[in-house]
Symmetry: C2
Subunit: 389 residues, 2 copies
Amino acid sequence: MSGKPVPTPENASVDSVGGGVFRLPEGEALPLDSGARLTGLEIAYQTYGKLNPDRSNAVLVCHALTGDQYAAGVHPKSGKSGWWSRLIGPGLPLDPTRHFIIASNVLGGCMGSSGPSSINPATGAPWGLTFPVITIADMVRAQALLLDHLGVDTLFCVIGGSMGGMQVLQWAADYPARIFSAVVVASAARHSAQNIAFNEVGRQAIMADPLWNEGAYASGKTRPEKGLAVARMAAHITYLSEPALQRKFGRELQRDGISWGFDADFQVESYLRHQGTTFVDRFDANSYLYITRALDYFDLAQAHGGVLARAFTRARHVRFCVLSFTSDWLYPTAESRAIVRALNAAGCRAGFVEIKSDKGHDAFLLDEPVMHNAMAGFLGAADVARGLT
Amino acid sequence: MSGKPVPTPENASVDSVGGGVFRLPEGEALPLDSGARLTGLEIAYQTYGKLNPDRSNAVLVCHALTGDQYAAGVHPKSGKSGWWSRLIGPGLPLDPTRHFIIASNVLGGCMGSSGPSSINPATGAPWGLTFPVITIADMVRAQALLLDHLGVDTLFCVIGGSMGGMQVLQWAADYPARIFSAVVVASAARHSAQNIAFNEVGRQAIMADPLWNEGAYASGKTRPEKGLAVARMAAHITYLSEPALQRKFGRELQRDGISWGFDADFQVESYLRHQGTTFVDRFDANSYLYITRALDYFDLAQAHGGVLARAFTRARHVRFCVLSFTSDWLYPTAESRAIVRALNAAGCRAGFVEIKSDKGHDAFLLDEPVMHNAMAGFLGAADVARGLT
């Protein structure tokens, strides 16, 4: 297997940051849930820290819908901190002085991994809508190949929030022997009707944009930016809570008075518009279609005879930690409770903390001391059990 | 003042249905909150029942964002029952054998009242975005002119749900001497940041549609149907509750299996798409912009020195009934409680019922026996106090 050099016990320093693009060799293909086989698979990834001689300290960090592999440090495109830089760093729950932390861009993404904006090797043109529809399990299957490539047989921990948490659950179902511990934050074992409904609004907003051009915009000079911005605006509301929006913006105006028109009069309007317009600079509309589809298709119980506990029967050795936020209405606490009940029913050991926060779903990306402490406690104990400290 | 003939005590039968279009005489204008003056005002209305000789039995029914004047009976365009036909009819809480029930299309609407799709009398062309921006208070001001035209000095009751409830509150603030009782259902005294955010998504979806053409589509052959459909889809989710969506649709598929594509796989997707495509047949995109703007501008306390109770100090003689639904997350019960507290602080008499329902905001349009009984009880007692029975 090919790819750029990656850190090894021999060449990496404690604060080393590595990464590159893993490429599936020619002639090999990734089998997908749809029955299709994806050739030319590429998975872009970042690493923080070094793999120890026992190869026992690897952590896979799984990102959410619009996240990417830049979980820590500084994002090379935005110049902002990585999306989980509050949790990854020396002295933090995920510590590159102790852990070998891997984060990869999901299959279907647009930050270097194979997705609809990638080039189809068979045609030399962007895939567009000819890219095969993928699932959360397909994303995880690609991650497993990346771990093979990195020489990681067993993960000390697989961890993620939101869609990242779904990947964690899928790991526990499909590769239980390869994980020691698992942390699921602000997530769910299936997409609800309301989750699907909001995603469908986003997809319809994109597909309503004439510049979307049935997904074949990559060959032109224009992209469906307006549609994608509307999709992001609708989704962004679901990431926040009503009280947080009220506290942050209330009915505060942009200017001294209202415009008596359709400009952004209220600060919340301006904020939402900004969320939309900045999003289109960093995200691909077709990726948005594919990844939301993977989310909507996600139903871990359904793949196990309708009984969620059966997904975890081979994961009794895994230490689970499940975290939810009281004001998260995208993936409410009830969804986390269903996961914990299934883990208990399967005989797995699972800790669960419902964290009081008014910040909504996005709390998993924010400064939430209780989340920080819960992870530090869980991972610290797991470190000891794994012999990492 | 002009307009078609309306039912009078002399010419109306008990089950009479009347209505027409009230037109402000030439030379007169409706003063608006923006400072503009609207000439050529037309208000389309329906009536059910007859005005009694005392002119003491008139009820004004106020509709929500996408409602209209066809509150009872059969809608002439859709062929379906009027939106509150469960509550208006012989033996029902609003009874045309006892009450003279008036429902008018709001100012800014698209069912016959003046709005952006109307003809600007000064130019002979559709107003489009040159129509003045309006408020809930402007809607109520136009309704008051309609009542003058109909010979109704005092309303036995003003009643409405959602945006209709806001009009009721505005009546209590602006024309307290003209109302005897008031019923506010599933409403709020101001739009929250989240309310504004969802409306802004809808407006952006419409304005992102190139066929919107800066609002000047009326002169062409095409309308921004895709944008309006996306706006409706996003809004429609807020009218339902997560449990109701889950119960009604869950993850049920349209066909035996998933499509591995972007067709509507899930029933909830198909339902939402249907909501979008049917909505564009009956609603105007510019009206959607104007009415959502009126909603967002609505803040009854702000117009009274920031103290909501001050809006009601002249309404101490009015009997109020406030109803909310437990699963309504568009205008949650907390908003109704704030109204009731303000009414109490102002010294008004107010009954309040929080109705247990999992149907979300739309419960006010559905078969909710507790709502029905609460209205029947409140209106029955008011009938007695008013001498109508």
